[in-house]
Structure formats: structure tokens, C-alpha cells
């Protein structure tokens, strides 16, 4: 009996040590590359979202849930991540449905251009933040590049063990608890860098979307349909990388064939009031806070008017969450602009 306890104690002790080491060694994304912390943040939010946004940087930098809340009373969350691939968006939706069933899902289509897994660094930023489940395993399997191993995702210590040489105070401080890096999934960027001369549009050998993204776009549409969710495909107003007309036509065709909506904010830039001389911080590749707030109001209006997403303003449980979050959002974004304008005196604040 005594021997049994000894063995049990030893096993539990080793597991505990390994668990603590894993927590210590995994990247925290708190002081740098905040994008890596976004996916995990969702699980701490209240699960009363009527709209879930999915996609890459064109999602988490373009749609601000606080603006949609303040202007339309829409409760939404952005489950975006850097270079989120279409199959990863699908599995994030499947994962989300374990917690809540939104009325609408908004999916950005830029990632349709990726026909195959891209690279581990981005995979990690989307996959490591998900809790272990069959959904996560399936996402890992389809996302892995040639040199990756599923075991290194299941037991991240196998992947990160050699980070011990570069551990910093951040790794200890955020070992168990992390700060929030977004506002309901939206990551604000202050700064202005107008669009100049764009590189020439380069002809492609083939404009047809790959089989893998098409398969998962179809699966996403089917999953939404099966759960009574409106699927809305969107393209952000970014002017680079090139969004080819032939790509756009395929999205239009898919939308028509599947009875889903497609809103191209790129084509509607003028209507939205996007001015790429002030609404972008990186030559038109992403919108800044100004641009994001315009886009958020535009898509919020569509969600409210065309998809009947309810206005929850005045409902205590919603107000208690969104009120303080949006106050903090405005304080933070104002401070970001104050800093930026102070460092860029050539620009005057209107």
C-alpha cells in the first residue's frame, strides 16, 4: 500500500513539474506580438454574442465590437488571429458553438488565397490558444506544415522546451493569468501612413481558389445552415495584398449558390467613407482606428437592419459588460492617438 502511494505521488509530482514547466515555457505574447494571445482571450468573455467574426488580421483590425455596441446595441466578438486560414476559421466556429450559438457569423475571405498550410509561427498563434478537444486536434491536423508534429501541439513543452534560454520576467508574471490584449477581439492600431504608389498587380498562374479552402468554406456554410446561423462573407477595405477580381467573382458565385451574403467593404469604401490618406497606418494594408470605426458602423448597420441582430442596450447583463469595456476602449484608443500625434507633429488632430 505504501509503495502504491509512493509511485502515485512520484507520478503526480512529475506531472505537476512538467505542467508548471510547460506553463513557464510557453510564449505569453504579453509584451510583444500580442496577436498570439487573442484566441485564448475569448474563453474569458461572457458568452452572449449575437455575432462572431472570424478571419485574419483584416478582421481583428477592422471591426470594433464596442462601436457596434454603442451604435446598434450589437453584442459581438472577433475571433480573429494573424493569417487565420479558412479551415482554422471553420474549426474556431465549431469550437465557438460549444459555448454559444450566434445569430450571425461574419467571415473574412482574404485567406481563401491560401491553398495549403503556411507556417508554424502563425499556426501556433491560432491553435495554441484553443483548449484541447477533438475540434482542436482536427484543426491541428489540417493546419500542420510538413515539419510539424501533432504531439508538439498536444504537449507544447516538447516544442518550447528550449525557450528556457530566453525566459524573461514576462514568462513568470503571466504564467497563470494574462492581461487582455483586445477589446472583444478587436486590436486597435493608431497611426497614419497614407497609401502611396501600390506595386503593380502581378498576374497569377491560376486564380482558382484551392480545393482545401473551398472545402472548408463549404463546410462553414453548411455548419452555419445546420445551426440556423446567418453566414456573411466580407472583404475588408484593405487595398493590398491585391484582391483580384477573379477571386471576388468566385466569392460572389459561392454566395449565390449557397444563399449566403457577401459584403465587400473594399468595393464599398467610398460609401463607408474610407479615406486611405488618413484611415490606414500602413499604406492601405490595414485600417487604423479611424478606419475600423467607420467599417464597424457600416457593418453594424447592415447587421442591424438586414439581419435583425437585436439591440441589447438597456439590458442590465449586457450593459454591465459592454459599458465598462467600451469606456476602457475609448480611453485606450484616445491615449494611443495622443501618443501618436505627439510623436508625429506634422499631423494635426482634427
Amino acid at each position: 500500500m505504501k509503495r502504491f502511494f509512493k509511485i502515485t505521488f512520484t507520478i503526480l509530482f512529475v506531472i505537476a513539474i512538467l505542467f508548471l514547466l510547460q506553463r513557464l515555457l510557453m510564449p505569453k505574447y504579453m509584451t510583444d506580438i500580442h496577436e498570439g494571445a487573442m484566441i485564448a482571450e475569448y474563453y474569458d468573455s461572457p458568452k452572449f454574442h449575437d455575432v462572431i467574426f472570424l478571419g485574419d488580421c483584416e478582421v481583428y483590425e477592422t471591426y470594433s465590437p464596442c462601436i457596434m455596441w454603442e451604435n446598434y446595441g450589437i453584442s459581438s466578438y472577433v475571433r480573429g488571429s494573424s493569417q487565420q486560414l479558412i479551415w482554422q476559421s471553420y474549426y474556431l466556429l465549431e469550437d465557438t458553438l460549444k459555448y454559444e450559438t450566434p445569430k450571425a457569423v461574419v467571415l473574412n475571405v482574404l485567406a481563401m488565397r491560401f491553398a495549403e498550410p503556411q507556417n508554424e509561427a502563425y499556426n501556433r498563434m491560432t491553435l495554441d490558444g484553443m483548449p484541447m478537444s477533438l475540434t482542436k486536434l482536427n484543426s491541428i491536423k489540417v493546419s500542420m506544415t510538413e515539419d510539424e508534429s501533432v504531439w508538439e501541439y498536444i504537449f507544447p513543452i516538447l516544442r518550447y522546451h528550449d525557450r528556457y534560454a530566453s525566459l524573461s520576467g514576462e514568462d513568470v508574471t503571466y504564467m497563470f493569468n494574462k492581461d487582455s490584449v483586445t477589446f472583444a477581439g478587436y486590436m486597435p492600431f493608431a497611426g497614419i501612413k497614407p497609401v502611396g504608389t501600390l506595386p503593380a498587380e502581378k498576374p497569377l498562374p491560376d486564380y482558382t481558389f484551392g480545393e482545401l479552402p473551398m472545402e472548408y468554406l463549404q463546410k462553414t456554410a453548411d455548419l452555419c445552415k445546420a445551426n440556423g446561423i446567418e453566414l456573411i462573407l466580407v472583404k475588408a477595405p484593405s487595398v493590398y495584398p491585391t484582391w483580384y477580381d477573379k477571386w471576388d467573382a468566385q466569392i460572389v458565385d459561392f454566395s449565390a449558390q449557397n444563399g449566403v451574403s457577401y459584403v465587400s467593404l473594399l468595393q464599398e469604401s467610398d460609401t463607408i467613407g474610407i479615406d486611405m490618406s488618413v484611415d490606414t497606418y500602413d499604406n492601405g494594408q490595414h485600417v487604423n482606428i479611424y478606419g475600423a470605426e467607420k467599417c464597424s458602423d457600416y457593418i453594424g448597420n447592415i447587421l442591424s437592419k438586414e439581419f435583425d441582430i437585436p439591440d441589447h442596450r438597456g439590458e442590465a447583463s449586457y450593459d454591465e459588460y459592454w459599458g465598462p469595456l467600451c469606456d476602457e476602449y475609448h480611453m485606450t484608443t484616445e491615449a494611443m492617438w495622443d501618443d501618436w500625434y505627439a510623436q508625429n507633429p506634422d499631423y494635426s488632430r482634427e
Partner: protein, 207 residues
């Protein structure tokens, strides 16, 4: 009993330390490819020593260092040979400033792709790693018939011209052909439904 507890703790700690130390900071592990992609959705070739993901992932050499440039396709402009893997600063010193420049930043990471356009004739792409390694030329696009490849192929020529110059392609699709040399590739793209060359891209193989 106390001795056994201590033994257990020591054994557990040693196992943990062994696991932590295996591989070590100097071990060559996988490299992460670029944090940005070209228009075609292809990840570029450079390693991304993303300290936050894995500080020990220092493969050392980038694509430009491992290969000799002798086998690579190149492009000559006004007597200056522009080679893949070379420094753009050196090229610029010889051929002058670009007409326009554009930087494609990576999402989340610090690396970027600088695109230097020379009129309507050609574009030189420079990959900048966030590992601090020297930036290098990773692709050259020829976009009009004022310039041609070293072997004499230019935009608006035909597929037959390409085959007569380079031979049978290493890879062929409905609207493109590719030739490989060393770790470089020349991709020739045709106008829709025709054999007329619309674009020529000389790039490192992984690009």
C-alpha cells in the same frame, strides 16, 4: 520517508531539467518561414527567428547563404547583374533609386517585404528578416518588354520563344511554365487563353 520524498523531488526535477535542456539552445530545430506572403499566397523563403515563439530556432543561414549564386537565374539591367540573394543596397548604388517603393509588413512579426519598382519595366523584391540577418533580394519581376532575362526572354514574347530559349519546362500549367536552376526558379505567366507572356518572375525556389 523524508529521504524518499527528497529522492522523488530530485528525480522529478532532474527529469524536468533533462527535458528542458534536451536539444539545447544551440540545436538546430525547425525554422519558421516568413510572416508574409506574396500575392499568390506563397510563403516567402526566409526564416523567421521569432523570439517569442522560439528563441532557440536559429537556423543561422538564410536562403541566400546556403547556395552559390552561380546556378541561379539572374537579371542584368544597364550592365549591372542583379542576383537573387544579393544586397539591394548594392544594386541600388549601381542602378539608381526605384521609381516607387512599397513595404508589405508582416502581420504580428517584424519582418517585411520591400518592393522596389523601376518604371513599368521591373520590380525587385527584398526580404527583410526580423532576425537581424542581412536583407536580400528574393524575387525580380519583369513587367514590360524594355527589359529581358539574361537569356533574352521578355514580356510579350511567346511560349514557343521561352521553350526555344530554355528548353522543355520543369513544370507546366494551363497558363504558366517554370524552369529551375539551383535554388532559383523562373516563372513565366501567360495572358489568359493565349501563349503571350504577361509576366516573368525570377525568384528563390521557396518564394
Amino acid at each position: 520517508m523524508k529521504k524518499n520524498v527528497i529522492k522523488t523531488i530530485v528525480a522529478g526535477s532532474m527529469l524536468a531539467l533533462a527535458l528542458t535542456a534536451c536539444g539545447g539552445a544551440t540545436e538546430e530545430t525547425k525554422d519558421y518561414s516568413s510572416a508574409f506572403t506574396d500575392d499568390a499566397g506563397n510563403a516567402s523563403a526566409e526564416t523567421d527567428a521569432d523570439a517569442n515563439v522560439d528563441a532557440a530556432d536559429e537556423t543561422g543561414a538564410d536562403a541566400s547563404e546556403d547556395q552559390t549564386s552561380a546556378d541561379r537565374f539572374a537579371f542584368t539591367y544597364n550592365g549591372t547583374k542583379i542576383e537573387l540573394g544579393a544586397s539591394y543596397d548594392d544594386v541600388k548604388a549601381a542602378i539608381g533609386d526605384a521609381t516607387s517603393e512599397f513595404t508589405q509588413n508582416s502581420c504580428a512579426f517584424d519582418g517585411c517585404l520591400n518592393m522596389y519598382t523601376y518604371g513599368s519595366s521591373f520590380e525587385i523584391d527584398e526580404t527583410v528578416l526580423d532576425s537581424g540577418e542581412a536583407p536580400y533580394i528574393s524575387a525580380i519581376y519583369l513587367t514590360d518588354d524594355l527589359v529581358s532575362t539574361e537569356e533574352g526572354l521578355s514580356v510579350f514574347m511567346t511560349k514557343d520563344d521561352a521553350v526555344s530559349i530554355y528548353g522543355e519546362p520543369d513544370e507546366e500549367g494551363d497558363s504558366y511554365i517554370k524552369y529551375k536552376s539551383g535554388d532559383s526558379v523562373i516563372s513565366i505567366i501567360f495572358d489568359d487563353g493565349s501563349d503571350t507572356i504577361a509576366s516573368i518572375c525570377i525568384s528563390l525556389d521557396e518564394f
